[in-house]
Structures are given as C-alpha cells and as structure tokens.
Amino acid sequence: MRILVIEDDRDAADYLVKALAEVGHVADAAVDGEDGLAMALDGQYDVLVVDRMLPKRDGLSVIGALREKGVDTPVLILSALGQVDDRVKGLRAGGDDYLSKPYSFTELLARVEVLARRRGGRNEETVLRVGDLELDRLSHLVRRGQDEISLQPREFRLLEYLMKHAGKVVTRTMLLENVWDYHFDPQTNVIDVHISRLRAKIDKGFSQPLLHTIRGAGYMIRDSAR
C-alpha cells in the first residue's frame, strides 16, 4: 500500500514513514501543505495522512483542494485539536477519519488499513463471512456453523464492524467511535467486557476461535484455519 504522510514535524514524519515501511507499506513524506498537495495530486496513493496544521497551506485546505479536483483518496486527519467540533470540521472538509495527537502507531495503522480497504470497493455485501461464522446484515441473523447465535442489537453492530474489517486490527477507540458513536475515552476499558461477552457467544464451544485480542493494539476477527 502506498501512503503519503503530510506532516511538518520532520521527526514525526520520519518515524511514521519508517514504521509504515516496517509493516510492509510504502510511505512518502511531505513537510508542508503545498508540497503535500502536489505530491497527492501527482502520485498514486492509497491513503493520505494529513496533519491539520501545516506551513504554507493548512491541512483542511489541502483536503478541500484535493476533493475539488476530484481526487477521492481516503484521508486520515491528524491533529492536536481533538475535540468533537474539531473532528466535525475535519470530516466536513472532506477527511475520512480523524485521529488526535498524541496517537499510538497501532491506532494509526489500524485506521489507515481500514481506510485503504474502504477504497477498494464499498463493503456493502449483505452477508459477511469469516470462517464458518456468517452475519446477514438484512435479516440480522448470525450463525456459526449450524448454530444460530442470538445477539443484542449492540453486539450485532459490534460483530458487524469487526467482520467488515475482518483480518484487520480494530482498536478499542475505533469500536467506541463506530459502534457506540462516542469520541471520548472512558476511564475503564468497557470495550473489553463487551468483546468478552461477544466472544462467549461466538467462540465458546468451538475449537477454532475467530475473535482474537491483539496485544497492545485491539481486536481482530480472522479465520485462523485458513
């Protein structure tokens, strides 16, 4: 995957480029808005990581200019301003996701991968499958093998989100944002408990666990047999 990082802090940009390369992506960096815009228009990138405050041209205006020219590369906005209204402004300007500083690399990576995947075709199949687990988004039926699993509405949405991003790490914050629509950090890790409940419903009694905890990052649903 080719990723462009537009970030004026050279250390942070270098760190991101290096870390993204380590996990197998190709990353370039631009240190100001003008350069970033030119590179984004020029190169073929799968995801753009754009800092909000940039010299020469600020992040939101870079995104605006891109969208105006019909470039729909997914954009992850990075910002030290992490409040609700800032996020809303960022998303309204054409950003696809918003991550406030300081962030952890795993969080950034998880989001970038989800964004890249989103681009590869809107994930709109009505039935999601992971191994022998099947989730029907229309009838709201969930099966594992022959067994029908009954889920609470929120559990259904949680599983749906995980399955939509099967094989990708999904962080706790992403779950909180996308399943519960909360953008704050609950002091206790409430998500873990929801996950273990869900796990009890879909994995318990099966030899092959599907829902995995990725230490220090989050969760992933994956058919480990394959």
Partner: protein, 474 residues
Amino acid sequence: MTALGKLFRTTTFKLTLVYLTVFALFAGFLLGYFALNTRRLIDEQITDTVNAEITGLAEQYRLGGISRLVFVVNARSRRPGSSLYLVTTFKGQPLAGNVTALEPGVLDNPGWTETTYRRLDETEGPDHPEHHALVRVFKLPGDFRLLVGRDLEERERLYRIVLSAGRWSVAIVIVLGLAGGLFVTRRVLRRVDAMTETTRTIMAGDLGERLPIAGSGDEIDRLAENLNQMLERIESLMRGLKEVSDNIAHDLKTPLTRLRNRAEQALRTAKGEGDYRSALERTIEESDALISTFNALLMIARAESGQVRDDMKDFDASEIARDVGELYEPLAEEKGLSLRVEADAPAPVRGNRELVSQALANLVDNAIKYAAPAEQAANGAPAEIVVRALGAGERILLSVADHGPGIPAADRARAVERFVRLERSRSQPGSGLGLSLAAAVARLHGGELMLEDNAPGLKSIIALPRGGPVQTAG
C-alpha cells in the same frame, strides 16, 4: 495634579458650575421681571394721579381764573407728602407752587418729562441733593403754564432694593452652590479615590481586596457592588487556575517521574530483550494514562471556557442514560453489580450530547469503581447501580445511584474539585478528574452537579436546564 485641580476637573464640580450659572441667571431674570413690572405700576400710578390733579386744577382755573388756581395750588403745596406743583406765566415767572430749579426748558414743552428739581422749602446744598420727578406741563388758556409732578424717590428706592436683592441673591446662590458643589464633589471624589486606591492594590496582585461600600445604596455603591462581584468571580477563577496548575504540576509530575525512573531502571538493569520489552510496554501504558489525564484536563478547560456552547443540539437525555447504561452494564456485571436503567419517558434537553454522555459515563464509571459488591453488602443493600433520567420541573436530572460507601457530607464539595481523590480512593486507577469533568459539563449547560446521600451510598446527579444554558449577550 493638585488636590484643587483634581476637584475642579471632576464631573460633579462641572455640573455644579452649570447649575450655579443657570440658577443665577434665573434669579436675575426673576428680579428683573419683578422690577420692571413694579416700575410700570408705579409709573402708571404717577400718571393717573398727575392727570387727575391736572384735570382738577384746570377745572379750578376755568371756574375761578388764575387767582383761584394760585390759591388752590398754594393750599395743596403745603400738604405733607404733596405732589409737585408750579404755576407760571408764559414767560416762566412762578406764580405759585412748591418746586424750583427745574431743568431748563421743561416748561416750554407741554407733556411728560423727567426732570431734576428742588423743593422750595429746601435750601441748596449737599444735605439736599437734587431730586428726580416725573412731571406734566399743561398749557392753560391765557398762556399760563401748570406743572404737576410726582417725586420719583419711590421708584429709585425700589431700584436700589431690587439691585441689592439681586446682588445678595446671586452672591448667596454662588456661595451656597459652590459650597454644596465642593461638598458633594469632595465626597464623591473621596469615594472614587478610595475605589482607585483599592483598584491599585488589586492590580498590584492582591485579588482578595474589595471596593469600599458606603451603604447608602446609591449609584456608586451599586457600581462598587457590581465590581466586587466581578472581582469575586475573577478571584475564584484565578484561584481555580492556580489550583489547577498546582495540581497539574503535582499529578503529572508524579507519573512522569515514575515513567522516567522505569526507563532509567530498564537501561541500568535489563538483561535481555524480554526485560527491555516489558519495560517499554509499561512505559507505553504509563504514557497512555498520562495522555488520558491530559485529555480530560483539556476537556474540562474546554467545557469551562464555554467554547462548546455553539455546538448544542436538542437530544433525549433518556436515550443517553440508556446508551451509557448499556455501555457499562457488562462491566458492572463482571464486577458483580447489577446495573439498572430507569429512563422510560423521553427527557428532551438542549446541549452537547457527547459531553453529557461523557459526564454520565464518568459517574457510572465512578459508581462501578467505588461501589464494589463487598462494600455494598456491608451496607446491607443490594449490589446495584441505578441510572435514571427524568424531568423535574424546568430541569432534567440524570442520576447515578449506588449503595457503596458514599462520600461523607463534608467531603462532597471537595470531591468535585479537580484531581481530588479522597484518601480511600487513592488505590483506584483513574485520573481523579471524572467528577470535575461532570461538574464542568453541568455548568457549561447552565446546570450543576449534585452529590447526595443515597442512604446508604452515593447519588450523583447532573441537573440540566431543559432549554440549555441561558444565552448570554455576545
């Protein structure tokens, strides 16, 4: 600036001068009007009297000729307080009367004239200055001249009286006005000076100082009261700010020191990759905790500054109660608590949904943290937490009630302050900002956070006005 110069420059003194001028002019006008009218009245009286006498005397002349006229005039002249009379031949030879030393030419022109004169019974000299008179000269048939007049002494006395009254009243107005003005000005000036003095002290850094209040309830008092209220608010904000920075310094320094020590220790003692790895993992955990403390602080600052006010929408508090309850229910169950939500009726309220959710989440989080089942059992109450949303008059109450140890009444106010973690709770994880954030969010919405006794346990209530915060100007 001299004291006097300062006095003269005050608004009060300038006002005094304006009033003084207006009053003096008014007094002058009044006296002038009075004098003018009186003079006209006197003149009219004189004219009437003189006309009547002339008519009478002309009649005498017509009846008895010059000798009768002379006789009558002489008789009248001798009466005390008499008018002025003079009968002359056409050459000006006096025949009868009581006046002499008229201005030359007076007798030649029939009609009204003002002239100086002397009475016949007076000798010339400084003792008897010349008098003024208003006279009428009448030509009798046979070329005799008849002069009748009245002394103007009365009119002149009136003039003098009016003039002196005028002088006195103007003088009194000026003296009284000036004195009054000075008195009032000095009083005002003294109070303003006192206020200025206090302001200087406050500017120098003593925010505890308050402006003096005379207790008269006048406009200066009201101003001082308002300024004092403003100072009160500023002082509490400053105190809050100072406390925050102190607490931040303390509460961020401690974990930062720990972080540094860990890293240092790992460098010194780690034997292999595994040691380094676990040291680094702990470092990251520690930093995450720091970041979340920091975020909570920013959030509180943000809520308190009122910036989020633009972002308010209508939402249902019951829905928030249900959502937050749902989010925490599994966690509560894991801890052996039952979490119940009572929010059936819609409770519409205006505000920032995200912040209110977070505030309520913090309260639930606290309840789960502190009301462990063991504690609740000790209180002989069921191990449960109840989250409620209900309307009460003009307010919507979002409450979280537990049967845990509660907070002693004396500590409740303190518990809401930033970073305060009552002794018992030191061992629990968390930034100690949960209640402060809830309180800040409540205040942002024009409401309040109340901590009550749930007998036994704690009941924390976020009370929000239904319509959202009252919009302040600007």
